[in-house]
Symmetry: C2
Subunit: 333 residues, 2 copies
């Protein structure tokens, strides 16, 4: 049965029945004209929205419906993590092709709610619309942060260190593996980074609470883009040490076997949803955070510079220009 066979009201009813019970903070949950929530006392409200589009951010050939739901929420959780905010609620806007099977829509919502439950996020409402085009899953996430404990892109100071969480390049290599019919044994870590990324929620919140960073951004659009965004917002340049980059091992092997420069591929590849920070030099506060949040590992990859026009990757003792950021309206890597 497709969504067009069932009709919007009946589909909405079925999806509402699948949603987990919302938290006590939710005074009016899904199913009314809007949701009503009790704000977290003395905290600030943090909100963000991001959409994933079939044929642009995923293809149905490579993503199960549950993966699409997971990723649509994860990319938003990552934005909140970059602000050091704790996520609390989500709104789900589904723009559905009429021919989608209802069971696939249910799996998509289940994939999203499974991740939501893991982070204590209540799905408090949403919307279903039909489309003649590809599937769009647009998610809004709200959360909270203590006063003056949030992180922005604009706080980096020349001399601060550049730190990133986890590994980079995996999501890009994972996409290449999925798209390459000749790749028989794709790396499961890279595939998972592409299909079901983890948002670094605990780390982001700990970095803000502990005042361990002066600026942060998520690497949705890749390391080069993240560096450029913080650099532009903070008025800094940056020097990256290529030998320090924590490239995902399966990605590095994949590119080496294909004669692709693994440094440039890792620096420009997007969708890793790791976090990038500006950390004051010899930051004792960072050590404190790292003791309490052991996973993901964090790596120092460079330093923020005074001159905003100086954006370089140092490699074997030579400086190369930092490549441009990921550009969504061009073709994907």
């Amino acid at each position: 049965m497709t969504v067009s066979d069932l009709g919007e009201h009946a589909l909405l009813g079925r999806l509402l029945a699948r949603l987990p019970r919302p938290s006590a903070q939710v005074l009016v949950g899904p199913g009314d004209d809007a949701a009503v929530l009790a704000p977290v006392r003395n905290e600030r409200l943090v909100v963000t929205t991001d959409a994933v589009v079939e044929g642009v951010h995923f293809s149905r050939a490579h993503f199960a419906p549950a993966d699409i739901g997971h990723k649509a929420l994860a990319v938003n959780l990552s934005d909140l993590a970059a602000m050091a905010a704790t996520p609390q609620w989500a709104l789900l806007s589904l723009v559905l092709p009429a021919g989608w099977p209802v069971s696939d829509v249910e799996e998509l919502v289940d994939g999203l709610t499974t991740l939501a439950v893991r982070y204590g996020v209540s799905v408090v409402g949403g919307n279903i619309t039909r489309t003649t085009g590809p599937l769009v899953v647009d998610v809004t996430v709200g959360g909270s942060v203590a006063s003056r404990k949030w992180l922005t892109r604009s706080g980096a100071v020349a001399g601060d260190e550049i730190w990133i969480s986890g590994t980079i390049g995996g999501a890009r290599a994972g996409l290449e593996m999925l798209s390459d019919p000749g790749s028989r044994i794709p790396d499961p870590v890279c595939i998972a980074k592409q299909r079901t990324p983890e948002a670094r929620v605990r780390l982001g919140v700990a970095m803000g609470r502990g005042r361990a960073a002066r600026a942060a951004i998520d690497l949705s659009d890749g390391l080069a883009d993240g560096i450029r965004q913080i650099g532009a917002a903070s008025g800094c340049g940056a020097r990256i040490d290529a030998s320090a980059l924590p490239t995902e091992p399966g990605a590095a092997a994949w590119w080496q076997a294909r004669g692709v420069d693994p440094v440039m591929a890792a620096v420009t590849g997007g969708e890793d949803y790791e976090l990038l920070f500006a950390v004051p030099k010899k930051g004792g506060r960072l050590r404190h955070v790292r003791r309490h949040v052991a996973n993901p590992v964090m790596t120092r990859i460079g330093v923020w510079l005074k001159d905003p026009s100086e954006l370089v990757v140092e490699r074997d003792g030579r400086d190369e220009a930092l490549p441009p950021g990921y550009e969504h309206f061009e073709n994907r890597p």
Copy 2:
């Protein structure tokens, strides 16, 4: 120049530059990973999301870009009004076909922000994504309401009166006029109801603050749907008096000239974005609200009943069954 010529980052920069300055409540505005806001002291947070899709909710032949932006925000403001909440901020998610002219995107955003400014709503963030399909404009609106002053669909009690704001049928007739190449002199009121609907924000807030209603819903999906939704949520039936219906005059004339039953057309037509209330009998509080909010006018059209299965339109002394609600996955009227 199209959005694909310009690229996402440059387009984002141009759109950010056009946004009005956010209110003092906005601590971190558009352009970072998420927005940070100061919640309204002692008030509850109210959030909703709704999308408009090209080819489903509008056609470019009949809607200027500014109309699309206006309507995408108005439909969300209407949902908040139905909860008696005051809107404060919005997130804008644009899913753009690569071939759209940049100037049209700018006009769309201007149409949205013009309405936003009128209601004191700050656009605090958003997202741009490309698509191979039709344009999708997904808006999330947040606002606030005092404790226990919100209205839901579930508070109606048998014996309560049914009141609606403004007129109905205009938006549906407006769509028919736009779609009918033979209609040389379309009614400007009906066209405006379809293209640039007003959300009944002041009225909704006044009804909640004044405790003048026990339940409310917006008529996005038409009167029959609104009656059915409140009826189902409150466990009530309803009796509508056809002779009391405030059908938009231009719509009634349009249908009469075409041999269409104006009562049934007005009852099933969607997109008027008026509000429907359950009001306690002889409500002195409603009189108070009506003295302070003169526009839109309000009309009593019926009564809520004890038996949830009794959903009737009384017409010339005879009962007819209330028609089913608007169904989005079917073709539009």
